[in-house]
């Protein structure tokens, strides 16, 4: 699985970093989320899906490769 962030929409709320800290972190200075792991392992799927679901601006997407 691959994770994509739509930076037009991301406002740095950081919900994803609380759901999946292995994959996302907040860049407070830029008010943006940064991707720590663009292709997270399958073991993190549930966490990443929660991050996608609960993102307040719907800025995250999972794409399968």
């Amino acid at each position: 699985m691959k994770v994509r962030i739509d930076l037009d929409l991301c406002q740095g709320h950081g919900v994803c970093a609380e759901e999946a800290p292995e994959v996302f972190a907040v860049d407070a200075a830029e008010a943006r989320v940064v991707l720590l792991e663009a292709s997270p392992p399958e073991t993190l799927r549930a966490k990443v899906e929660a991050a996608v679901k609960y993102c307040p601006t719907h800025a995250l997407r999972i794409t399968e490769e």
């Binding site: 709320h13 950081g14 609380e18 759901e19 008010a31 307040p56 719907h58």
Partner: protein
């Protein structure tokens, strides 16, 4: 060069479409969609409002940066409600800072779930075996307590009582679209709005004075703000400003949650098969005696889908607007600086291009395989894009907590003909029209029922 923007017909001299906006805003916005297509221009007392329709145009609206489409200037009816120095008086950068408020974050939500469940129990403690209740009054009062307890602090909430309900009602009803002409006209609803705001300032002043007299040390948000000093020792925020913050904090989560709870209960009562499924889901979830907690609330799919469907059919906000600060382009059209642009949540949520049988209450549209809410720029009860409601997760959690208590303690039935319940759209803040009464009767304890 911009293609000409179609103008909506039936424009009155001076008023344009303002009177239609006050009478039946959804009909007006739908007519603009039908007549003009993706882009169409209304007039609000001489001020042009360019409406954008359909997923693509709405996406352009929701993606535009603040520097291009400005929220602040678009809502003149809110300024007298919030007062000076609050929300729309702040710069986009200050607003951005404020939005990263911790109280709506995931960690904080955990504690809020229990607070909301407790407040709901307190409200129904006075209900007895059976009776009748007006949904607007009940949920308006409950959500004053839940919002203030969760967002300001439990000590502050204990200062509040039912006397605040009419004050918030007057503030909410003080959002007549006539504000587009002048938000300070001497009409009754604006006078009531200003009187309610004054009373609220006096009420908060009383709280602070009482606390001081009694030498109580409080830690809630407003007490902390009250203690912030300028370099010369004077308080940084006067009570008027703090009252404005209280109103703005409450406004985002009060009438919205109250209306949604009311409509959800009404839709479940109008669709008994869904009431049955939701009640069974809740009884099963809490059968082991677990508490109404954040974890419990996270996955209640049937109830959640019923809320999504309620929000789609009855969005508490029906029109979002921005002021054009830099020319806004969409396809061949350009909206020049100074105009307003708008998106109608009510029209979009019933767009037949996206939603099958859009007028029907059908929570299955969110189930795996259909997932019509994945059209994130069409299913927009919380708006979309960078300014999508920051309280959406809090709101969903809140209504699930409230219903986890209500539907397990009581059963309900309509006290009026099903079609008599309707929203009052005469003000920019949508509310359920009164009377909106339902009957309740205490349920046998679920455990006993199963035995």
């Amino acid at each position: 060069m911009s293609a000409p923007i179609p103008r909506l017909s039936r424009r009155l001299p001076l008023f344009g479409h303002l009177l239609q906006l006050r009478r039946d805003p959804i009909e007006l916005m739908q007519r603009c969609r039908d007549e003009c297509g993706e882009v169409g221009e209304l007039s609000l007392a001489g001020q042009p409002l360019v409406m954008l329709y359909g997923e693509a145009a709405q996406e352009a609206f929701f993606r535009a940066p603040d520097e291009q489409l400005d929220q602040a200037a678009a809502y003149p009816f809110m300024k007298p409600v919030f007062g000076p120095g609050v929300v729309f008086d702040a710069t986009p950068e200050q607003r951005k800072q404020a939005l990263r408020n911790r109280s709506l974050r995931d960690q904080a939500l955990r504690g809020h779930a229990e607070t909301i469940a407790r407040e709901t129990e307190r409200m129904i403690a006075r209900w007895g075996e059976s009776g009748e209740v007006d949904l607007l009054d009940f949920f308006a009062e409950l959500t004053i307590y839940t919002s203030s307890a969760a967002l300001v602090g439990p000590e502050f909430r204990e200062e509040l009582g039912p006397e605040l309900v009419p004050l918030f009602k007057d503030l909410e009803r003080g959002t007549d679209a006539v504000a587009y002409v002048n938000p300070y006209l001497p009409i009754p609803s604006f006078r009531k709005r200003d009187r309610a705001r004054k009373r609220l300032v006096a009420f908060l002043q009383g709280i602070f004075e009482r606390r001081e007299r009694e030498g109580r040390k409080c830690q809630d948000l407003f007490q902390v703000l009250r203690g912030v000093r300028n370099p010369d020792g004077t308080p940084r925020y006067d009570v008027d400003t703090i009252t404005g913050m209280f109103i703005s904090l409450m406004f985002a989560g009060h009438h919205t949650t109250s209306t949604t709870s009311s409509w959800a209960l009404l839709e479940l009562l109008r669709h008994p098969e869904w009431m049955k499924r939701v009640t069974e889901e809740l009884d099963a979830l809490y059968a082991d005696g677990r508490e109404v907690s954040y974890q419990a609330l996270r996955e209640i799919p049937v109830l959640e889908n019923c809320f999504k469907e309620t929000l789609r059919l009855h969005p508490p906000l029906i029109l979002l607007m921005r002021k054009v600060a830099q020319p806004f382009h969409y396809k061949d059209w350009t909206v020049p600086v100074g105009r307003s642009v708008g998106v109608s949540l009510a029209v979009s949520n019933r767009d037949p291009r996206v939603f099958r049988d859009p007028g029907r209450f059908d929570p299955t549209r969110y189930e795996a395989g259909r997932e019509e809410d994945q059209h994130v720029f069409a299913w927009i009860p919380f708006g979309a894009g960078r300014h999508r409601c920051v309280g959406a997760a809090f709101a969903m959690m809140q209504v699930k907590a409230i219903f986890s208590i209500l539907l397990r303690r009581y059963e309900f039935e309509l006290a009026q003909p099903p079609e008599s319940y309707h929203s009052d759209h005469s003000k920019m803040v949508v509310q359920l029209a009164q009377p909106c009464r339902v009957r309740y009767r205490r349920r046998a304890a679920p455990a006993a029922a199963a035995a």
